[in-house]
């Protein structure tokens, strides 16, 4: 299974994916830097200065982890969903299907491509953030673990979306109507402690809340939710989505007649 030829195939898919988003860097790597700079200027400096402190840190410091995580989530997801759907649309997916590439490696190749873009944009946004706020890290271990798992989860989710998508509209429905609202309501800009009890409970059903808070814990050392619970939840999502994506690819659903 982990033979040299399959690993070469994995390397080829990964390089193809990375080359793709570097080729169109103006669409993939530049926008997060610009958008997140605006968030820092508007929410951090202009509005944040009036908000004051939150959980003992400045509002700018408070929102930084959430903003970084937001770009990681969006970019991991959109990289895989658009790349895989384009391959289906242009039928270049057939290049892989006629070759002896194991399903697991097709899956890993696309997911790792998405993870790499998620992490790269995370680094870019962190560099942008460092121009506005003095970044402190509480735990590098938790920080990397959470960001890696989160990007992996959303990259896999993007693949599942792309497998089912039949037209270009289908790849924008989930990001627009599900991911964006959940991210904004996932505690990026506020602590759920500020909400009435009912809405606090509702917020607990939002998986992105756990990721944002676990990531914030890595930076600041505090969180609205339990870190262990967050890590278990993210891992459970990854296992479920990965198994589903593997099953769909193996059966050839959406890609074979």
């Amino acid at each position: 299974m982990f033979d040299r030829q399959s690993l070469t195939a994995l390397q080829s898919i990964f390089i193809k994916e990375v080359t793709r988003y570097f080729r169109i860097w103006v669409q993939t790597l530049l926008p997060p830097a610009i958008t997140m700079s605006l968030y820092f200027v508007i929410f951090g400096q202009l509005i944040g200065s009036r908000v004051g402190q939150m959980d003992g840190v400045s509002y700018m410091e408070y929102i930084t982890p959430g903003i970084i995580m937001m770009s990681v989530i969006t970019n991991s997801y959109s990289n895989v969903v658009s790349s895989f759907f384009s391959a289906k649309f242009q039928r270049s997916i057939e290049e892989m299907l006629v070759a002896p590439v194991p399903t697991l490696y097709i899956l890993l190749g696309y997911v790792l491509g998405g993870v790499s873009r998620g992490l790269l944009t995370g680094i870019i946004v962190t560099i942008v953030a460092s121009q506005f706020v003095d970044i402190q890290v509480y735990s590098w271990g938790i920080l990397f673990f959470v960001v890696f798992l989160t990007s992996m989860m959303f990259a896999t989710g993007g693949l599942v979306n792309a497998i089912f998508a039949k037209k270009f509209d289908d790849i924008s429905i989930v990001p627009t109507f599900i991911l964006t609202p959940l991210t904004y309501l996932g505690g990026v800009f506020y602590s759920i402690q500020l909400l009435p009890e009912f809405w606090q409970n509702v917020s607990m059903a939002n998986p992105i809340l756990y990721m944002v808070n676990a990531f914030r814990f890595g930076f600041l050392g505090f969180s609205d939710i339990n870190i262990t619970t967050a890590l278990i939840l993210i891992s459970a999502f990854i296992v479920s989505l990965f198994s589903l994506a593997y099953y769909l690819l193996n059966k050839g659903i959406g890609i074979r007649s």
Partner: protein, 307 residues
């Protein structure tokens, strides 16, 4: 005994619950052969190729590639095949070199070797100058050649080409014929589907005709051509005769003001015809087949299948 390159037994494919694309076809292709797979549109050619290359899931039947069953040894079977599909199916944004190198990687060819092979293949197919050009900027003929280069990157024993010369000019078509003939002579088994029957007649030793999901003919090209009972010729003449007799079973008819058509049965000769025309003071300026011989047979066979 020589190994079969492709062995298909009782292959069936049903799309949905009612569309029977293949109704139990059986076909074998010898190693080193050059075979034409012909059939009208919708006959089942592309479905058959799709199943052989695992792009289409079969409903039942067995397919073996160089002895490897696609059910039990799919990876080994895939390694033996290079596919040149009908539609352009590469990323429009990648360069020629990226496309072929990545494809080699999918077959486990290490990158440094893939780079060397890419140079070799792109040079052979006159694409080396375009190696850094995005594929969308290539002409139709170049795109076809790029797909052939891509299919050969892992040095397959069998090359399957689905309408490889569709839409390319005659000069490029002939250079592709030369390339494919050389490739076949070097030992690669080639299966070709085409709508240019002249191409099949020129290149292939054996022929299989699919119609309505069934193989209706599977024989050598020579044998098939020998079955043609009557050939029709067009003669461009200095003047058209006023009467149109039948001479030694060869019948004449007027085509237009400067040419006539003659139907020549297999057993008849042309000497008497030329003698009669000379007697009438008519000079034959040129002579040609009315249509490709294989085309006539193809039409006969597929029409019989439909009736």
């Amino acid at each position: 005994m020589q190994q079969k390159a492709i062995q298909i037994s009782n292959l069936k494919k049903t799309y949905g619950s009612s569309v029977e694309a293949l109704k139990g076809i059986s076909l074998s292709v010898e190693e080193g052969d050059f075979v034409a797979l012909l059939g009208p549109n919708g006959a089942g050619k592309s479905t058959t190729i799709g199943i052989i290359c695992s792009l289409v899931n079969k409903s039942s039947g067995e397919v073996k590639i160089m002895g490897h069953s696609i059910d039990k040894e799919l990876d080994a079977a895939k390694r033996c095949i290079g596919l040149v599909p009908q539609e352009f199916n590469f990323s429009q944004f990648e360069t020629c070199k990226q496309i072929v190198v990545t494809q080699a990687g999918y077959y486990g060819v290490p990158r440094h070797i893939a780079n060397q092979r890419a140079e070799e293949m792109l040079k052979k197919l006159s694409l080396w100058e375009k190696r850094d050009t995005p594929s969308r900027e290539l002409s139709g003929g170049m795109k076809r050649r790029l797909m052939i280069a891509r299919a050969l990157m892992h040095s397959p024993q069998i090359l399957i080409l689905d309408e490889p010369t569709a839409g390319v000019d005659i000069e490029i078509r002939r250079s592709m014929w030369e390339f494919l003939t050389e490739l076949n002579e070097s030992g690669t088994t080639i299966v070709l589907t085409t709508h240019y029957l002249e191409e099949a007649e020129q290149l292939c030793r054996n022929i299989a005709i699919i119609d309505q999901g069934k193989i209706i003919e599977n024989t050598s090209m020579k044998d098939l051509i020998s079955r043609l009972d009557i050939e029709t010729f067009v003669l461009d003449v200095s003047s058209v005769p006023t009467e149109f007799p039948c001479i030694d079973k060869v019948c004449f008819r007027k085509r237009d003001e400067s040419s006539i058509e003659i139907d020549v049965p297999k057993e008849a000769g042309l000497n008497q015809v030329f003698a009669w025309l000379t007697e009438q003071g008519i000079e034959v300026l040129s002579m040609r087949n009315k249509s490709n011989r294989l085309e006539e047979l193809f039409v006969q066979l597929t029409e019989n299948g439909q009736s």
